[in-house]
């Protein structure tokens, strides 16, 4: 690969896909399957059917947002695929997606759990801090792991159709 190659477009696409899909994991696992919190469950406690449905509506707006992030990531990936100076590396894309998921957990956990207090990971827990910290820690681990994979792939330069 020449010195003019750019990895930014592929990394950016992966980051957006990771953020979007990480948001869906949060929604599917924590909101729907485990039902341990909703987006505004610390503000509007889901104590009866109406408040549960109000929370469900706000979850829907959140999911619409992460859906938009995922679509934006797909569009960026398509664009990156059209640019000849972008090395086509599966490891870079995977690393960026993992880092994007980590970014989601880290930023969502910091802003929504710690600063704004919109909800906590396990709303019914007597001590909400340990699950919140575990969520933040998962973000750091994913971010570091994804970044390491991106760095490891810094010399990937497979021709189109032969991505590693």
């Amino acid at each position: 690969m020449t010195n003019t190659s750019r990895r930014g477009p592929l990394i950016s696409a992966g980051i957006f896909l990771g953020i979007g899909l990480g948001g869906f994991v949060d929604g599917i696992v924590f909101h729907q399957i485990l039902q341990v919190h909703n987006m505004l469950s610390n503000r509007i406690p889901p104590s009866d059917l109406v408040s549960v449905k109000i929370n469900m509506t706000w979850d829907g707006y959140f999911h619409a947002g992460v859906w938009a992030m995922t679509v934006f990531g797909l569009l960026r990936l398509f664009r990156a695929g059209q640019q000849r100076d972008v090395p086509w590396s599966g490891r870079t894309l995977l690393g960026a997606m993992i880092a994007g998921w980590g970014l989601f957990n880290l930023v969502e956990g910091t802003i929504n759990h710690q600063i704004l207090g919109l909800h906590h990971v396990v709303e019914s827990a007597s001590n909400k801090l340990p699950p919140d910290l575990a969520f933040l820690a998962s973000g750091v681990i994913f971010l570091l792991g994804g970044s390491a994979l991106i760095r490891a792939a810094s010399h990937d330069a497979a021709p189109r159709g032969e991505a590693r």
């Binding site: 509506t57 938009a68 810094s154």
Partner: protein, 78 residues
């Protein structure tokens, strides 16, 4: 992004009047609980995280320029 924003706005317009249609008894109370004076604030705080993440994602697009500026890109292929 233009299309994503447009589809989000379209969803709000379409679904605003369909809130809790599956539960006719509680529908008015749910709609009143969502689309009240706090709607804008709630939507804003909900989307704040995504706005921050969006900014970070856009920033990563320019990772090559940043690396080149800091001298990291010198001598390698990134």
């Amino acid at each position: 992004m233009k299309w994503s924003a447009a589809s989000l706005i379209l969803s709000v317009v379409l679904f605003k009047n369909a809130t809790a249609a599956a539960c006719p008894q509680c529908r008015p109370r749910v709609a009143a609980g969502v689309y009240n004076q706090d709607f804008g604030t709630n939507l804003l705080v909900l989307l704040l995280t995504l706005a921050v993440l969006f900014a970070i994602g856009i920033g990563t697009y320019y990772v090559d320029a940043l690396n080149a500026k800091s001298g990291k890109g010198k001598g390698n292929d990134t």
